[in-house]
Each structure stands twice: as structure tokens, then as C-alpha cells.
């Protein structure tokens, strides 16, 4: 369908959703809908949801308690109607084909995006390993997670990568904050690492170059949003205590 023509239906659809379309325009639009137009159907549904804002603009009024009694009395003798999810309308063949193609395209794009992301992470780690100035430091479990393990690749230019394992997912409202600590300097927050159900996780870090060489790397369990200074227990640390 030509774009200009569809723009016309879209405009009619907005007035239709408001309930204000009338006369021949109303008949024409309803005929257009009846002929099957998934674009207009979707747009109408979206406009309907927008118009739901309108009734929320009114000040709510509490009805008298008698209304509730009247309603309950009226339905008291009724047979209960079981609520079942309505079956979707019969889908047409072309819709199945279009849907399948769209799903394939989305799948390919998402898969491509995912592999691009994984590839960029692997490339960054390989580049770090290639750099002779990169340090590879083991991380040891501490505090509530003595069995946790990890590795920290760190380049003094401010780039690094942390790998963790056997570290359970952070509890609700908490996060694992990663810190670098230079000599006689306060800990510096460099990111948050998340773990999967197997307890594994990783994070690539890119920060500005530190003036002083970083001596210690640590992960602490913090309330979400804590980045100024560590307040919670240390769960991984680069130097064995």
C-alpha cells in the first residue's frame, strides 16, 4: 500500500479510536479494517492504550457503599463463568509466512548482534594478553564467599578484564562492585560484575589511566548503586590475606 494512502488511514484511525469519526468516513474506515489491515489494527490498539490516559485525568470519586451491595446481590444467583483465554483468530497463510520471515530476520539480527558482542569481548581480551605490560593476577575468595575464584588481567593504561567463578548471584538489591586500589589512594570503582547461575561472570573494564600503579584488585558485595567507596564485605581480592 502506498505510504501516502496509508497515512490517510492512520489519521482516520486516530479519530476512530477516539470515537469521533462519523458519516461516510466512518463507513470507509470500517470497510478498510474489515478488509484486513494489520498495520491499522496495531495502530488502533496503540492509540486506544494512549487514550487510556484520558480517563486517568479525572479526579476519582468513591461510589456509595450501597453500589457494592447492589452488584453483589445482582450476581449472587449467577452461575460462575469460567475465565478462559480467548483463542486467537484464525491466522491467514500469508501472515504465517510474513511472521516466519520476520522472525528469521529478527533471529539473524539478534544472533549477529550477540556474536558481534562476544567477538568484540574476545578481541579485547586477546589484545590485553598480547600486551607484554598486562599483568595476570589471581583473585581469591574472601569473607562470605571463601571458595570463589577469579583472574584479573590489568594493563596500566586503565584497561582490564575480570573473570570470576564459583561466585553465587548477588542477592536482591545487591551487586558485586569491582575496585582497583593504588598505593596510598582510596579504592576506585571500575564496574559491576554479574554472575550466571553457574557462578561464572566476566567484565571488560576501560577506565582512564591511573597516576599510581594499581596494587590491589577487589570485589565487594554492595547495595545497588554504591560506587563512591566500598561499604560491604570483600568477596574476592588479589592478595591472599
Amino acid at each position: 500500500m502506498a505510504t501516502a494512502e496509508h497515512e490517510y488511514w492512520r489519521e482516520q484511525g486516530e479519530i476512530y479510536a477516539l470515537g469521533a469519526l462519523d458519516g461516510q468516513e466512518l463507513k470507509d474506515f470500517e470497510a478498510h479494517l474489515a478488509a484486513g489491515c494489520p498495520v491499522c489494527d496495531a495502530y488502533l490498539r496503540e492509540t486506544g492504550e494512549t487514550l487510556n490516559l484520558v480517563h486517568r485525568s479525572l479526579q476519582p470519586v468513591t461510589p456509595s457503599t450501597a453500589v457494592k451491595d447492589r452488584i453483589l446481590r445482582q450476581i449472587a444467583g449467577d452461575k460462575v463463568v469460567p475465565i478462559t483465554v480467548a483463542q486467537p483468530k484464525q491466522t491467514r497463510g500469508w501472515q504465517i509466512i510474513t511472521g516466519t520471515i520476520a522472525a528469521c530476520i529478527i533471529g539473524v539480527v539478534l544472533t549477529g548482534t550477540y556474536y558481534n558482542y562476544r567477538y568484540s569481548v574476545y578481541s579485547s581480551v586477546v589484545n590485553l594478553l598480547r600486551d607484554p605490560t598486562t599483568r595476570d593476577l589471581p583473585l581469591y575468595g574472601a569473607g562470605p564467599t571463601p571458595t570463589a575464584k577469579g583472574r584479573f588481567l590489568w594493563n596500566q593504561s586503565g584497561e582490564g578484564h575480570i573473570f570470576v567463578s564459583d561466585l553465587p548471584s548477588a542477592p536482591e538489591g545487591k551487586m558485586y562492585a569491582v575496585w582497583t586500589i593504588a598505593q596510598q589512594s582510596p579504592p576506585r570503582y571500575v564496574g559491576t560484575v554479574e554472575t550466571n547461575p553457574k557462578g561464572q561472570g566476566g567484565l571488560h573494564i576501560k577506565t582512564t589511566r591511573s597516576e599510581l600503579p594499581v596494587e590491589t584488585f577487589a570485589v565487594t558485595l554492595e547495595p545497588v548503586g554504591t560506587t563512591a567507596a566500598p561499604t560491604g564485605p570483600m568477596v574476592l581480592v588479589s592478595k591472599q590475606s
Partner: protein
Amino acid sequence: MLRMSSDAEDLLQEVFVQVWHQANRYSEERGSPEAWIVNIARSRAIDKLRSIRRMERSFVLTDDPAKAESSDNVESSAAESETKLTMNSALANLPEAQRKVLVLAYFDGLSQSEIADRLKEPLGTVKTRMRSGIQRLRDLLETKVR
């Protein structure tokens, strides 16, 4: 919308009973449950409002035809609805001209041609204001979601 609290309470009862009886007809495809119930309530309210309006018009016409045609009557009805709007509501953020046409359509159940007649504005102007108003509401909704 109905202005009389007894009418509104009758309507509330009818809507709840209808929802009770027709709950199995609800389909997710049509939108959220809230939207479904609001649509039932609005559609019934507009039916009632139109029947009240027809009755009032017939009484007024026999009494004073000029009064029935007066746009002030309708303007005051829309203005009355507007006074009930909460200050921070989405509608309160619309320009007055857009708000007026949306209120007349949504709360008073008037069609685009009826609104154009009552406001003595060209039909095209009314349509443009409606569409701009809806677009603005959509933008506000997106801002809130963000």
C-alpha cells in the same frame, strides 16, 4: 461524564455486572484488562449521555429553540468536565484548543462533525486538533514510560 452521581452509580453497577458476565470474552489481543473495562464503561456512558441529550434537546426545543442551538450550552458542559481534571493530568498539559476537542469527543461523546458545529470551527481544524492532541498524549506517555 454523566454529571449526576446517581446515574454514574447505576452505570457502574451495569458495567461491573457486564464484566462479570462477559469476562470470558476478554482477549489480550484487544489490549490490557483496564483498557477493556474502561472501553465498556465509556461506551455505555456515551450511550446514556446521548439519550439524555436527545431528551433534553426535545424539551428545550419546545421551550426555547434558540437556547438549544447555543454553543454556550455545550461549551459550559465541556468546561464543567474540565474543572474535574486533576492539575497534573495528561490532559491538563495539552493546549486549550486540543484539550477542548478531546474532552468533547471523549467525555461528551460528540462526533467530529458535531464538535465542528458546536464550536463553529471548520471540520478540518477539529480533526487536526484531535490528531495533534492524541500525538501529544502519546509523547507524554512515552516520556512517563522513559
